[in-house]
């Protein structure tokens, strides 16, 4: 993985010292809150219901074991012993004290981590496929390009005060695991007719109060031209994006209002002026970054390991975990091991300091020191020998990290909701816990099959409810929490925005409503159909009927 050079280290040291001074000046009264707020937000510090929150970046979701252990150390030293992994592949701490945050950032800097690009109206931390560099279906590892985007976008002077925040996601695989079609810019790697690798450029996707699937502004941009093309898009957005209304300031609104053809015209016009400038990246430079993400020293192994097969026979719990959480690796004899942060009845995405430290150790022991965060709030050890899977599982199991539910009904995305968030209108986590408990039985989950439930505690949609097969939006109705259900959302390469099923449900009713939907799906599905497939075949009506009858 990428290691910092002197420039990166200096940048981070200066930034940490700067923020330490800003915090001191705020505490002394030299800075007012109005002056300080934009500064703290540029350093990932929010104020929530109960305390400050520090959001730490995990650039493109990739960490080494030492970094993961440091996240655990931060949780224990500066927080209350846990952290929350987010849909941006980041981690949030819920209880840091303001005057201790500079120390936490200094500690993070020792392992090349920070809170830059986790807040503010800048280009945010770039996200990508959690299986990058390991997936069997990948064209190329997207992370060298993500790292180049990080370097281009970090403190970009022109794009520090954009109309609104700006999120870029990249997939190197045709099977999109990074939800690129619902980002401000989504980049989908593919090959052109000449066999060259490049990117489809998708613009104006997004969730929030006005969800859109992004539109393609360019079918193919070569690797060398990617960064000047991104710059051209950002310039068009920075110039024409609305600043008069916060809720209409994202690029998706601009694309929607002026149309993708006009956006394309503007971007191409801007690009024609800068395409041969300093942002054109040479093959040699790209090769240097590809080398930074060179595959680890895999052993030459047989595709199948007899001992692994025997263990599966002997240990049904291990076999279940392999079935749901272990995914094919491109290297024979290796596998991708997913660590579910969705224990039955637990809090989605939360991990304790001990668990983080253990995962860091296990990454070193079994996965070439490589660990990933997923946008679905789980962790991944991307390069595990099949022969080691049983030992890994046993260690995970002893730390309550071996729930065998990846992609199933209890693998729920939930935002922090009203339990923590100052913007929330209803709680998300308790609802996810109740759904998880209702469907906790593994056999039942496997019978239901792949089902993505995503819960947001307000219209800002941090829980991605618009792209849940079943989405749930928590709202406040005359002081009471109630929940609106959407159906048919999808974050994958077949992205779609869910449709509202009808009137919302009370806190007491909503889990029964979800069960009714699932029961109806089981009744009407054909062989091999997932929930989303059935929905797409039959439409909303059969589901509406079980929710509302004749209402």
């Amino acid at each position: 993985m990428y290691r910092y050079d002197d420039f990166d280290r200096q940048l981070l040291a200066e930034r940490t010292a700067q923020f330490r001074d800003q915090v001191a000046r705020r505490i002394s009264g030299e800075l007012t809150e109005d002056q300080f707020k934009p500064l703290r937000l540029m350093n990932g510090v929010y104020l929530q219901l109960h305390a400050y929150m520090l959001r730490v970046a995990v650039p493109y979701g990739t960490m080494n074991g030492e970094q993961m252990r440091k996240l655990g150390y931060i949780a224990r030293t500066y927080d209350k012993g846990y952290g929350h992994f987010t849909t941006r592949q980041n981690i949030q701490y819920n209880w840091p004290k303001l005057n201790e945050i500079p120390d936490a950032l200094a500690d993070l800097a020792t392992v090349e981590m920070h809170a830059i690009q986790t807040s503010g109206n800048c280009i945010r931390n770039t996200t990508t496929d959690q299986y990058a560099g390991a997936a069997a279906d990948e064209i190329e590892d997207p992370r060298p390009y993500c790292e180049l985007i990080r370097q281009w976008s970090t403190f970009h002077p022109e794009f520090t005060y954009l109309p609104r925040k700006f999120k870029i996601a990249v997939t190197g695989s045709p099977n999109d695991r990074a939800a690129v079609r619902v980002h401000d810019i989504g980049l989908r790697m593919h090959k052109n007719d000449a066999g060259e690798t490049g990117f489809e450029v998708i613009v104006g996707g997004g969730l929030g109060r006005t969800p859109f699937v992004g539109k393609t502004v360019r079918d193919f941009i070569g690797k060398n031209d990617l960064f000047s093309y991104l710059e051209a898009i950002l310039r068009v957005y920075n110039r024409f994006g609305r600043r008069d209304n916060k809720y209409k300031a994202r690029i998706k609104i601009l694309v929607h209002e002026v149309g993708v053809d006009e956006i394309r015209r503007l971007v191409e016009e801007e690009w024609s002026k800068i395409r041969d400038g300093s942002l054109r990246v040479s093959d040699d430079e790209i090769a240097q970054y590809i080398a930074q993400f060179a595959p680890p020293a895999f052993e030459e192994l047989q595709a199948n390991d007899p001992e692994f097969e025997r263990r599966k026979q002997a240990h049904p719990d291990f076999a279940a975990w392999v079935r749901s959480n272990v995914i094919a690796h491109k290297q024979p004899g290796y596998a991708i091991a997913n660590i579910s942060l969705k224990p039955i009845g637990g809090i989605p995405g939360d991990a304790t300091a001990d668990q983080m430290e253990l995962v860091g150790d296990l990454a070193d022991q079994y996965s070439f020191g490589d660990v990933r965060v997923t946008h679905e709030q789980n962790l991944v050890l991307p390069h595990v020998k099949k022969a080691d899977l049983f030992a890994l599982w046993a260690e995970l199991n002893s730390a309550l990290l071996a729930t065998a539910n990846l992609g199933f009904v209890t693998d729920i995305i939930a935002c922090p909701g009203l339990d923590y968030c100052a913007l929330a209108t209803a709680r998300s986590i308790p609802l996810s816990q109740r759904i998880s408990e209702r469907f906790g039985d593994l056999e039942r989950q496997y019978d239901i099959g792949e089902l993505k439930i995503k819960i947001s505690g307000c219209i800002n949609a941090c829980g991605h409810h618009h792209v849940g097969h079943i989405g749930i939006l928590g709202l406040d109705k005359r002081g009471k929490e109630f929940y609106q259900i959407t159906l048919g959302g999808d974050a994958s390469q077949d992205a779609s925005i869910g449709k509202i099923a009808g009137a919302g449900f009370s806190e007491a009713e909503v889990v029964d409503a979800i069960e009714a939907l699932i029961t109806r799906y089981i009744d009407i599905r054909t062989v091999g159909e997932r929930f989303i497939d059935t929905y797409r075949r039959v439409g909303m009506d059969p589901f509406k009927e079980v929710l509302y009858g004749d209402r």
Binding site: G29, E33, L49, A51, W95, I429
Partner: protein, 97 residues
Amino acid sequence: MSLQVVTANRLDDGLAVFMTADDGWSTDLRDAVCAEDAPQAEALMARADTEKQQVTVVGPYLIDVAQEDGVLVPTKYREVLRTLGPSVRTDLGYQAG
């Protein structure tokens, strides 16, 4: 009008606090000074939102409260949570004791 108190988050640790009669701040809503009408509420806010208070708290605002069995409680669930802590982690926040 509902009874109102002024709440904010403490500058140094961010914890939820409530303004007291001597213009100080308590982590316990029961210590809060209460406004019974709009002019009183406005006066309370004026005392809370000063340059001097900015060194102690962030973002003061009024919340509706009610007397229940002689104790002040917020009427909105969001504010109830701020007096307790996360409902999903009853071991944390003020509710943990």
